[in-house]
Amino acid sequence: MNTIVDRTKDIGEFIPQPDDDMLICRCEEVTKGEIRRAVHDGMWTITEIRRYLRTGMGLCQGQTCARLVKGIVARELGISMAELEPAAARSPMRPIEMKVLGNEEVTDLWQ
């Protein structure tokens, strides 16, 4: 958001919705209701939601659910999706075995 956010701001009560059991993060099996509940627990950024619920922290690293989670959090906070900073992009871009990542071509690093 890059703006000053007072986390005591009133975002209203958590109101259950009929599709709260809809699975959003396919890898970590996190539902819409859990995400909405987390927002009311004070998790107002995508990064906090991830750390709190593991959305986007599974094998695919949020490639499928990132946009969906963003939409739910934005709606719950009453802001636009563009105002929510996406989670940090981190390597590896695809899952990679320890023995492969550890198997670097021998190089002169400062070449």
Partner: protein
């Protein structure tokens, strides 16, 4: 607006130290404002560490805090905060592969024993009994059965959640520029936005950033920062519950409840790592993660097929003498310092928070933190 921005205590930094202190202060009936420079609660080391909740391997000056936390706070923490912090008290193995390693471990063990900690040296066979997945390269270890690990991201956010529920006011995206004394006492906190916050006490718990803030009232904590890295694997079948470290503290990690392994480690050049990451999200180096993988595989050959799904980096604020600076500053009333945790603040965070709350409300702590006081730094001769 001045009235709105006033509280008993203003805490700078919503890391786990700030969040925990805020929680324990609200529990003691104090009003609290927590100011966070970044957009996220727990954006620094609090969410980026390896999750160790250890006593073994610690400096005797901070050992009392570690022991107090593990005895009094960690066991009931999940229940108290209403969120599962994934705390496991199933021991810590500090591993050695060379005689020199064993020497280091023996030294640490002796010093810890002197402080009353149950930690002992175990030989290769005993190590294997505790953790059969370790490689034959391990020739011994120190073993502290009451150590363990927890989920740092969740624990930090759990403290935040509970503190917020108890009335603490958290403001993110509010970097602090200066502290201001009013009639001799540190009272005003002035943000870059020019917003002013006012507290009877001002606690600075902003990691390395604390240094700049403290400077504004003539307090300097001798510390530097290093960019460290961690990585996490895909979920694996349950393998072992212990926290692991090495004699040289170059690799560490554990298996989380989720099944993934979280490992941290160093490449040896982090002192000079470059950070090209976006604001508040430090970037990785190209060579550290491969190095961690090689390091870990030496200890756990069977993890070679485990896939790394993510790596990340985080700054640690390393104090000149390797332990934090905690408490009041004698000649600067109203100021509370809690920084320079030197890369091992997570495990003691609940204890630090609880003791800082006591210090602020009662004027004293129940755990001896005198070795961590601000005024301790002296020239070598």
């Amino acid at each position: 607006m001045a009235v709105v921005n006033k509280a008993d205590v203003v805490i700078i930094g919503a890391g786990i130290i700030g969040c925990a202190t805020a929680y324990y202060l609200t529990k003691r009936g104090k009003s609290v404002i927590v100011l966070e420079a970044s957009d996220n609660i727990g954006n620094g080391g609090s969410s980026r560490n390896g999750g160790g909740v250890r006593q073994s391997g610690r400096d005797p000056r901070e050992l009392p805090l570690a022991m107090y936390g593990i005895k009094e706070l960690w066991p009931g923490l999940s229940e108290e905060l209403g969120v599962d912090c994934e705390y496991h008290k199933e021991g810590n193995l500090r591993l050695g592969k060379t005689d020199k390693h064993l020497e280091i471990l023996e030294g640490l063990t002796k010093r810890a024993n002197a402080c009353g900690l149950d930690v002992r040296m175990v030989n290769a066979d005993e190590v294997k009994k505790i953790n059969p997945h370790l490689s034959d390269e391990v020739i011994g270890a120190s073993w502290c059965p009451t150590d363990g690990h927890a989920n740092p991201m969740i624990t930090t956010l759990a403290f935040y959640r509970k503190a917020r529920m108890s009335g603490a006011r958290f403001i993110t995206g509010e970097p602090i520029k200066t502290l201001r004394r009013v009639k001799g006492r540190v009272k005003e906190v002035i943000a870059e936005s020019k917003n002013v916050y006012e507290g009877e006490y001002v606690m600075v718990a902003a990691g390395y950033e604390s240094r700049k803030i403290l400077e504004t009232v003539g307090v300097d904590v001798p510390m530097h920062q290093e960019l460290m890295e961690c990585l996490v694997t895909e979920a694996q079948q349950k393998m072992f519950p212990q926290m692991l470290g090495t004699a040289e503290a170059d690799f560490y990690g554990h298996q989380s409840d989720h099944g993934s392994f979280v490992f941290g480690g160093s490449s040896g050049i982090e002192m000079n790592n470059k950070d090209i990451g976006p604001k508040n999200s430090p970037g990785n180096s190209a060579i550290t993660a491969p190095c961690i993988c090689r390091g870990i595989m030496k200890y756990f050959p069977e993890l070679e097929d485990a896939k790394i799904v993510r790596t990340w980096a985080g700054y640690i604020d390393i104090c000149q003498d390797g332990v934090p600076v905690l408490g009041f500053v004698d000649d600067v009333p109203g100021l509370v310092v809690a920084c320079a945790f030197s890369g091992h603040g997570f495990g003691i965070a609940p204890a630090v928070g609880e003791q800082m709350a006591r210090l602020i409300t009662d004027g004293r702590t129940t755990v001896d933190i005198s070795g961590l006081r601000y005024g301790r730094f002296k020239a070598k001769i």
